[in-house]
Amino acid sequence: MKSQPTPDPAANLGASPAPEQLDSIKAQLDLVLLALESLVGLGSEAMLEAADQLGIAAIMGDRVTLWRLRQASPLRKGQGRKKLDIDEARGLVLVSVHLAQQHQNKIREAVTRLETATTQNQPLHRVGILGDYLDTFTNFYEDRMTPDDLPNPETLRDLALKLLVDLLFYSQPGGTRRLWLALLERSR
C-alpha cells in the first residue's frame, strides 16, 4: 500500500551542504547503504519500498533511478556518474535510517557480538554474524568500487566495523539528524 506522499519530507533535515560537499556525502551514503546490505541482506526492493513508505518515491521510484543515485558515489566503478542533488541526498538519508531502524535488533546483536569478541580478544571472523558481515562487505566493496584506491583488508575491515557501529546510532530515533549532521561535518 502506498503511503500518502508528504510535500517534501526530505527537506526537514535542516542545513544544506554546499555543492562541493556533495561528493563526500555521496560516497558516505553509499557506504552506509552498503553496510546495511551486507548485514541484513536487503536489496534494492527494500530500499524502493522504504522510499515509498517515506513518501519520496518521486526521488527514487524505480531501480534505475536508485542505481543511478548510488552510482553517484565517486568511489564507484563506471562512468556517466549522476550528479546527486541535495534533495536526493536527503532522500537517501531518510531511506538509510528507515532501514536501519527496521533492522535495529540485528544491528544491536552484531554490535553486542563485536563488543564481546573484542573484549575477549576473539577473532571476529569466527563470530558468525560478524564473519558473514565482514565477508559480504568486503565482497561488495571489491565488486562495486573502483580498484584504483582499494584499501587493504585491514583498513577495509575497520571501515566495515566502524560503519556497523555507526548504524547502531543511526538506528535510533534521532538517527536521521545524526546521520545528516555527520555527513555535513565529514564533508567539511
Binding site: V111, T112, E115, V165, Q172, G174, R186
Partner: protein
C-alpha cells in the same frame, strides 16, 4: 524573569540506560514549541550490556546535567564524523568521553561521581548509543534551561498589598521621625543617639552594639543599589526598617570592637555577592536534596530606607534589630544555614533577599511564633528559635500548595545549638516528593554540638497554611 512552578518528573528508557529527571516547568514554556524546564536533579542508570560490565548510577543536579548531556551528544557526533574531539575550553572538571579501543568509551565524570564513588565509567557502544538515545528523547520532549531561573514566590494578593501598606506606613513614620533629627544634625557631628520615636518601630535596639560605621552604612546602601535586581513583586515590597540580618555593620567593625561579633560576614545579608565566600561545592553524589528554594530576587526597599541622605548615625536604630531577635548570632546562624551561594541565589534575593525582606516576614511570623523568640526565663534567647522565626515566615510566605495536594506534608526540622538547620526529615514519601515545593532550605553542617538541638515539626497544609509544633525532647 520568569516563574517556575510545577515539578515534573521525567523518565526516559532505553535497553541499557534509564534517565530520570526531576524538573520544574518554567512559565516561559508558553512561548516555546516544547516545555521549557529547569532540571533540579537527575539520576542516570546504566545497566550492564555484557557480563563484564558493572551497572552504574550517577546522580547530579542542574549544574552537572547540561555539561553531561552536552558531552555525550558532542562525543557521539564526533565519533560518527570520525574526527577526534577537540579539547576546546573544556576543563578537567567537566564531563567528557574518550575512546577506549574499538567499541568502548571511557566517560570521565569530572566533578561528578557514580554512586560508588568512581570518577570514570567504561561504556560499551550499546550503552553509549542508549545514553545518546535517552538524551535525544529528553531533547525531543523538553528544552532544558541552560541557566538557573529565578522563581517568583507565589504570594497571595492580599498579603502582598498588606505588606506593602504596612511598609509604607512604617516608611512614612520613620521619615517623619528622622527628618527633624537629620535637619538638626546637618553640619554637626554629634554623638549618635537613636531618636526616641524610633523606639516605636525598634523598641529593643540593643545599645551595647557599637554604632554602625558610617562608611559601612553608606556602602551598604551602595551595595543595595547594585544588588537591586528585584522583580516586580519584590520591588513592591515595603521598605520597612531593616532587621537584624541586615545589620552587617557589626561584622564589619574592626576585630575586637565587639567580642561576640560574627566570625565572618559570609552569608551576611547585605554583604555584596562578591563578599559571599563560595561554599564548598555540593557533593554530587548526595544531591538528593533539592537545589533549594525556587525564588531568587533581591528585594531592596530603597525608597523607604533611603530618606534623603540621612546621616549614617541616624540610621542606627534601623540597622539594629527590631523586636527581640538577637542581633548577631541568629543572623549568622541562619545565613549559615543556607549552604551555598549558588543555592542561596534561589532564595528571593538569595541570602540577601531572605534577610532584606525579613521584616514583613518576621511580622507575619510573629503572629504565630513571637513567643518562641522571646527570651527565656534566664534571659537567653535560643538562637535556633529566632532562626526558626525567620525560616517559618519564609516558608509560610512561599508555601503554595499544588491543587493536587490533599494531604498535610510533615517535616521534622532539627536545629543545632547555634540555630543552624542541620536536618530536614520528611515524614513520608509524599513529603519527600514535595520537598522542593516547601521552600525549606538545604542543610548545613552543624556548627556546634547537636546536644542542645531544637526539633520542630512543620506541617504544610493543603489550604496553604504552615503550622509549627515544637517537639524538642524534654
Amino acid at each position: 524573569m520568569t516563574s517556575t512552578t510545577q515539578l515534573t518528573p521525567l523518565r526516559y528508557d532505553s535497553p541499557t540506560v534509564t534517565l530520570e529527571v526531576m524538573a520544574r516547568q518554567a512559565a516561559v514554556s508558553q512561548w516555546s514549541d516544547k516545555p521549557v524546564v529547569q532540571v533540579l536533579r537527575y539520576q542516570l542508570y546504566i545497566r550492564a550490556s555484557e557480563e563484564t560490565d558493572q551497572p552504574l548510577e550517577i546522580r547530579g543536579d542542574r549544574d552537572s546535567f547540561l555539561p553531561l548531556i552536552d558531552a555525550v551528544q558532542t562525543y557521539i557526533q564526533s565519533q560518527l564524523v570520525g574526527a577526534p574531539m577537540e579539547r576546546g575550553d573544556r576543563g578537567d572538571d567537566q564531563p567528557h568521553l574518550v575512546p577506549d579501543g574499538f567499541t568502548r568509551h571511557t566517560l570521565h565524570l569530572g566533578s561528578l561521581r557514580t554512586t560508588t564513588g568512581a570518577a570514570t565509567a567504561s561504556l560499551g557502544a550499546l550503552q553509549l548509543a542508549d545514553l545518546g538515545d535517552v538524551v535525544d528523547q529528553l531533547d525531543t520532549q523538553v528544552r532544558p534551561l541552560p541557566v538557573s531561573l529565578a522563581a517568583v514566590p507565589q504570594r497571595r494578593p492580599w498579603r502582598q498589598w498588606s505588606t506593602i501598606a504596612a511598609g509604607m506606613v512604617a516608611a512614612v513614620g520613620i521619615t517623619t521621625a528622622l527628618w527633624p533629627t537629620y535637619q538638626s544634625q546637618l553640619g554637626s557631628n554629634t554623638a549618635v543617639q537613636a531618636p526616641a520615636t524610633d523606639l516605636e518601630i525598634a523598641p529593643a535596639a540593643p545599645q551595647e552594639t557599637a554604632p554602625p560605621n558610617p562608611a559601612a552604612s553608606s556602602s551598604n546602601a551602595d551595595n543595595a543599589d547594585e544588588d537591586n535586581e528585584a522583580d516586580a513583586i519584590e520591588d513592591a515590597e515595603p521598605a520597612a526598617p531593616k532587621t537584624t540580618p541586615d545589620a552587617p555593620v557589626v561584622a564589619q567593625q574592626p576585630a575586637g570592637a565587639t567580642g561576640s561579633a560574627p566570625k565572618t560576614t559570609t552569608g551576611s545579608p547585605s554583604a555584596s555577592p562578591s563578599q559571599n565566600q563560595p561554599p564548598p561545592p555540593p557533593d554530587s553524589t548526595s544531591t538528593d536534596e533539592p537545589p533549594l528554594l525556587p525564588a531568587p530576587s533581591i528585594s531592596e526597599p530603597e525608597p523607604v530606607t533611603s530618606p534623603p541622605s540621612p546621616p549614617p548615625a541616624a540610621r542606627a536604630p534601623e540597622s539594629v534589630t527590631a523586636r527581640e531577635v538577637p542581633p548577631e548570632e541568629p543572623t549568622e546562624s541562619f545565613a549559615d544555614a543556607v549552604p551555598s551561594t549558588s543555592e542561596a541565589d534561589q532564595f528571593p534575593g538569595g541570602v540577601d533577599g531572605l534577610t532584606d525582606s525579613s521584616e514583613p516576614e518576621a511580622l507575619a511570623a510573629s503572629e504565630a511564633g513571637s513567643a518562641a523568640v522571646s527570651p527565656g526565663p534566664s534571659g537567653e534567647i535560643n538562637p535556633a528559635l529566632s532562626s526558626l522565626d525567620i525560616l517559618l515566615a519564609t516558608v509560610r510566605d512561599r508555601w503554595a500548595p499544588p491543587e493536587s495536594l490533599k494531604q498535610t506534608l510533615t517535616y521534622t526540622l532539627i536545629f543545632d545549638a547555634a540555630g543552624t538547620l542541620v536536618e530536614v526529615i520528611p515524614q513520608d514519601a509524599l513529603a519527600e516528593q514535595y520537598r522542593d515545593l516547601t521552600g525549606l532550605p538545604l542543610l548545613s553542617a552543624p556548627e556546634s554540638s547537636t546536644d542542645n538541638s531544637t526539633t520542630i515539626e512543620l506541617l504544610f497544609q493543603p489550604d496553604g497554611t504552615v503550622n509549627m509544633v515544637d517537639v524538642t525532647p524534654n
